[in-house]
Symmetry: C2
Subunit: 393 residues, 2 copies
Amino acid sequence: MQKIDLSNFRLATSGTAREINRRIVLNLIRARQPISRADLARLSGLQRSTVSLIAEQLIADRWIVEGATGRLPRGRRPTYLRLNGDRLILGIDIRPTATRMGVADLNARFLTQETMPTADTPDTFLDQLTQRARRLLGSYPNASWEGIGISLPGRADRHSHRLVFAPNLAWKDVDLKTPMEQATGLSVELENAANACVLSEVWFGPRSDTVQDLVVVTVSEGIGTGVFANGQLVMGNGGFAGEFGHTVLDPAGPVCRCGNRGCWEVFASNSAALRYYTGATPGAAPQLAFEDLLALAEQGDVRAGRALEEMARHLGAGIALLVTGLAPSRIMVIGEVTRAWRRVGPILQRVLAERSRTHTPPEIEPAEDTAQPRLRGTIALVIQKHFAAPPIT
Amino acid sequence: MQKIDLSNFRLATSGTAREINRRIVLNLIRARQPISRADLARLSGLQRSTVSLIAEQLIADRWIVEGATGRLPRGRRPTYLRLNGDRLILGIDIRPTATRMGVADLNARFLTQETMPTADTPDTFLDQLTQRARRLLGSYPNASWEGIGISLPGRADRHSHRLVFAPNLAWKDVDLKTPMEQATGLSVELENAANACVLSEVWFGPRSDTVQDLVVVTVSEGIGTGVFANGQLVMGNGGFAGEFGHTVLDPAGPVCRCGNRGCWEVFASNSAALRYYTGATPGAAPQLAFEDLLALAEQGDVRAGRALEEMARHLGAGIALLVTGLAPSRIMVIGEVTRAWRRVGPILQRVLAERSRTHTPPEIEPAEDTAQPRLRGTIALVIQKHFAAPPIT
DNA sequence: TCGCTATAGTTCGGGCGTCATATTATGTAT
DNA sequence: ATACATAATATGACGCCCGAACTATAGCGA
């Protein structure tokens, strides 16, 4: 039930039906490729004639290409359609220490990836970034570029495009979008890293055909969340929704980087686990990396195991909050901590069951970081502009 | 950016454009009535000829009627269009002690209202309810009935329609929908009371033209929340989203009716304030009503004032959580406590500002209960089926 | 080799939608 | 009476989907 916004609606014209059906067909091709026109007609419910016209249009607009012809027990041989592999997207995943860039096609298959250190000052960073981006763009002279997607450990203002909340980057008021657009001539989409992870799962995950409800929790130095509801990313005012990592769970708790006390991420992030292990005061420079803690626990170090369990309990407590309030059918946990899921998962589930007994528990899925959800999400950021349902209102 | 659900989409047909534009025109009439066809064309951007055709159809389908003719400085006099006042809706607001029913037209103007005590057992309650409903329906013999909307202090299962979570009603597994539909022959929509309040504000509130983001917090014996994001009510799996009142804020806190400890509503509901005042243990039978507490505070009773302030602090703490996580542009607080807003509001705002400093603070609007958002929301529940944007996917 | 049948894909007319323009209806001002 | 302005309707062009007819292409059996 979508309310029509009377201050900002789009009229339907005679082309609206085509727009909608075109997107449906395009998505079906994306999901089932290679696929014949006849199969598309069966899957979509459109007439074969209509499918042919739409396919012709999609070919003319170079979204799809005709491929091999099939072979059937009898009858005319079908011509298979698939997404055009020559339309490329540049994805950039900015993290505090390293920035990863990749070139992907419409199937989110990466043709290249490379990593560079994230420079300390925004100016040098932008210099290096634009330089690398231009080199990457130049190395595919025959490609047509759809745009650039960027994921950030923070938030950018919707209008000024300036970074307004990025405690891990220590940059303030930096506009990454405009310089990148000027340097490349492509349109740039910025999005928070947790939201990028949501989009990655929603567009490229194994169940991407049908996801309509999902919450992603990214666990690293901090905790980020992305909420997908009713088939849409919940944006909130200015795109600021999703900072559940900074909800205050204990006002008497340790100070968080955001300035408050006792945020969820102060209790459940990687840094928190390290704090539990070393007994250090919050904010102190970590003496070992979270990976080391995981290794210690794996080797049977009791204190390390305890620290992970404490982290797991707090993860469960925060997730219980999300479950109680938003009732998602799935929750995806992303981060290094999933490598210790055998130990962490059961504890998390137990706390969750205790604290949200009124709800049918969602599936909790640990996600390997190897799928690179952040980077893949930047591709989704660009792809969704052409593959999402056309806006009605 | 709405993702297309490939397991459940609707194709566009040649009639889709008309469907969309028809809804837009219908909503414009609702918002600006009485209005001429010419003005509709100017407002919508449609051609006058198209508006005429759509109006003709809406008149034939009896959604609108032609009214008086206007008078202009010169030129042909316009015929004003307005919503048909003969299409009626029955709204029922079930509360633990009393149930209120009302008959409203498409403008959500109530023609009748009446209250009955909520019987203890579901069976007698349903008997009384169906009897009253039939009598009300019979008293408007010339009307055409759109349906029945019901708001509940709890949740009903989407498929079985049975009550699954209603701690205040002490009924279990009761199906209100099927008996009502059988008794009246009308279709019945069930919704949680907080969600009904959201719909009331979204469809009938002063800024109903443009609301796209809103969180409603209902404060009474418990706390309910409803989340409206991207122009849609966030439903969650099985329609269970919105139970932020039962998020655990302090696992060592008092026991809640839901079975957990330290839920938000244990600290910030009317019952909590009474507990702060009397110093009683939680769960004990209240010795006075919340209205009495408000009166005492108004008369200068210091302890009563302190109790309200404690309640306000906890309200602020919970709302901070919603603001941090969902970043709504507006938050509406509904309940008796808004009568003491001069005292409660500033404290709530202060706590909120402290705890969600990373976000631009939303507008906090106290809502008089006199507007009857619960009951009015039941009307919205039925109206939105015909006035919301047609589903694309 | 020649039909028969099944399947893929195309062509074409009908119905419905919006748009743009012309036309009619109905007022006021001169 | 005439000119002008405005509301509302009528008409034809074009786009889209549907459905039926048609063409293309294969395997199979007599």
